[in-house]
Amino acid sequence: MDPVLYGYMLYGISLLTVGGMYAILALGLNVQWGFTGLFNAGIAGFFGIGAYTAAILTTNPHASHVGGLQMPYIVSAITAMLVAGIIAFLVGKVCLKLRSDYLAIATIGIAEIFRLIVNNETWATNGPRGISQIPRPFEGLPEPINQVAFLGVVLLTLAGVYWLMEIARKSPWGRVMTAIRDNETSAKAAGKNVETFRMEGFVIGCMIMALAGALMAHYLKFVNPQTTDPLLATFIVFVMLVIGGSANNKGAILGAFLVWTLWSASEIVAPRLLEAIGMTDAGIRSAYVRIFLIGLLLQIFLQKNPQGLLPETRPSSPGKNGS
């Protein structure tokens, strides 16, 4: 195969793989923010919990970090979700009584605490140097089969999460979640235990985020505190969900792939753009220009489409008016 074309193909595969993991993250956030209006600004923390749990459980034993238990992928993925679920439950016990903006502050705090722990508890996590040599499914196969196979794992997981969340959205459970988002007082007056439902949404969302984190650890084969960088694991996920369409699972997925493609392309485009206008140190400056561009994109886009690309739809109800 033509090497240039082959390069493009590998780039495409990586774009879809990472995009798919972001789509899972966006689906997790959609349960919280889209369905029931919980402002979780600590996505990075739960993503990181998933990534580190998978790393510790599946690597070979190594002196630089705890674990190295060589567990099967499925066990580590489920454990990552359970750990995140338990932590989310404890965080939720404390934070979910707070009003939305305070919940955002509290969850940012939790994510930062997690980042500081993995950064400083070197005995357990190898600190800033991170955990490396994390195994990846199918890595023994020849390239590019191994990459395609891992992409398959990601897309299948995404499809599974989408399917479960789509059932949840259309269900009476999803209906109560939306009711709480639209009018909490009235949901209480309709006999709904708002705190319990919020907790369920929060825990389920965080478990999905941890699943994405576990996949990311296997894909990168390496985790360090940078993995939980709020820009790439919290902020951009909100951009994805809001651009795609809050409360719409298809929108969350579309937004994730779209924004990830743009973000990824901006890595190539931004420095060239800066060079073209004669700026010095284009390489260094472009890192910041990219963040500026993604913010600008969000601004322009929201002016035109405040509801996102795919606005919220209500599940159709069969009956005499048809639908």
Binding site: L164, I167, A168, S171, P172, W173, R175, V176, T178, A179, R181, D182, N183, T185, S186, A187, K188, A189, A190, G191, K192, N193, V194, E200, I204, E312, R314, S317, P318, G319, K320, N321, S323
Partner: protein
């Protein structure tokens, strides 16, 4: 059915309700009237569990329920509507009703994945109930409209519709007639009477429209400055000079 004993509520220095004592008899449509700031809605909020009383008891069917949270009151059979409609704006009119009933297996998320059959069966029942309520309210044509797009009067009907989706024993209506045109008001009046007859609901109604109160309510409880001024029939209320005083301000500026 419900008796309120020496109920009080203070907000800082302001005593909104003080030593309020009255009874709501089973099967009655009890009116709760009084000038603005008399403590009517605060009393409702305490009965419905939205606010915790500072002091006093609320005894419902022999049980002191003061201080229980709203969702527990609902399951005991106390259901309320709001003065300002509290619709679920982005949900359809049908969904606004379907969300209300208790005992929906689909509200437990795992049932939706693991036991969809049971969820569907109950869902069909709930949908039928909601369709019937919409028919009763003559707003079937709005079934798939987002509730946020309804007119003020239609939202009032939807508020009432939600009470029909429950096994309520006591329904607290907070100004069901406010901002509603006369034709719709007649409709609401007819509905309340029908619900009492067909479903055996007991009502307690806060209202400023004295025609509606006169047509529906017996007895009528008059609140003023957070306490019960009197209780009686419309004639008794009309002929009581204290009531007029309370409404016109009794020496103070009328609110």
């Amino acid at each position: 059915m419900l008796s309120v004993e020496k109920l009080s509520k203070s907000f800082g220095g302001l005593q909104a309700v003080r030593d309020c004592t009255f009874k709501i008899e089973e099967g009655s449509i009890t009116g709760l009237i009084g000038p603005n700031g008399a403590g009517k809605t605060t009393t409702f909020n305490m009965i419905a569990g939205e606010m915790e009383p500072t002091a006093g008891k609320i005894v419902f069917q022999g049980q002191n329920i003061a201080g229980l949270p709203t969702h527990k009151m609902f399951h005991l059979g106390i259901v309320r509507t709001f003065q300002i409609p509290h619709e679920f704006a982005k949900m359809t009119v049908l969904e606004n009703l379907m969300v209300v009933p208790a005992a929906q297996p689909g509200e437990h998320i795992f049932n939706n994945w693991l036991n969809p059959g049971a969820v569907r069966t109950r869902e069909d029942q709930v949908r039928q109930m909601a369709e019937d309520a919409l028919d009763f309210l003559s707003i079937s044509h709005l079934r798939d409209e987002r509730a946020g797009n309804l007119s003020g009067g239609q939202k009032k009907l939807l508020e009432l519709g939600r009470t029909m989706m429950t096994d309520a024993k006591l329904v607290l209506l907070d100004e069901p007639g406010a901002g509603v045109n006369p034709t719709l008001l007649l409709k609401i009046r007819e509905m309340i009477t029908r619900l009492r007859e067909e479903r055996g609901y007991t009502f307690c109604v806060i209202e400023h429209d004295m025609d509606l109160i006169a047509a529906l309510c017996d007895p009528i409880i008059v609140l003023a400055e957070g306490t019960v001024l009197m209780q009686g029939t419309m004639e008794e209320v009309r002929s009581n000079p204290d009531v007029l005083d309370a409404y016109l301000g009794g020496g103070e500026e009328a609110a």
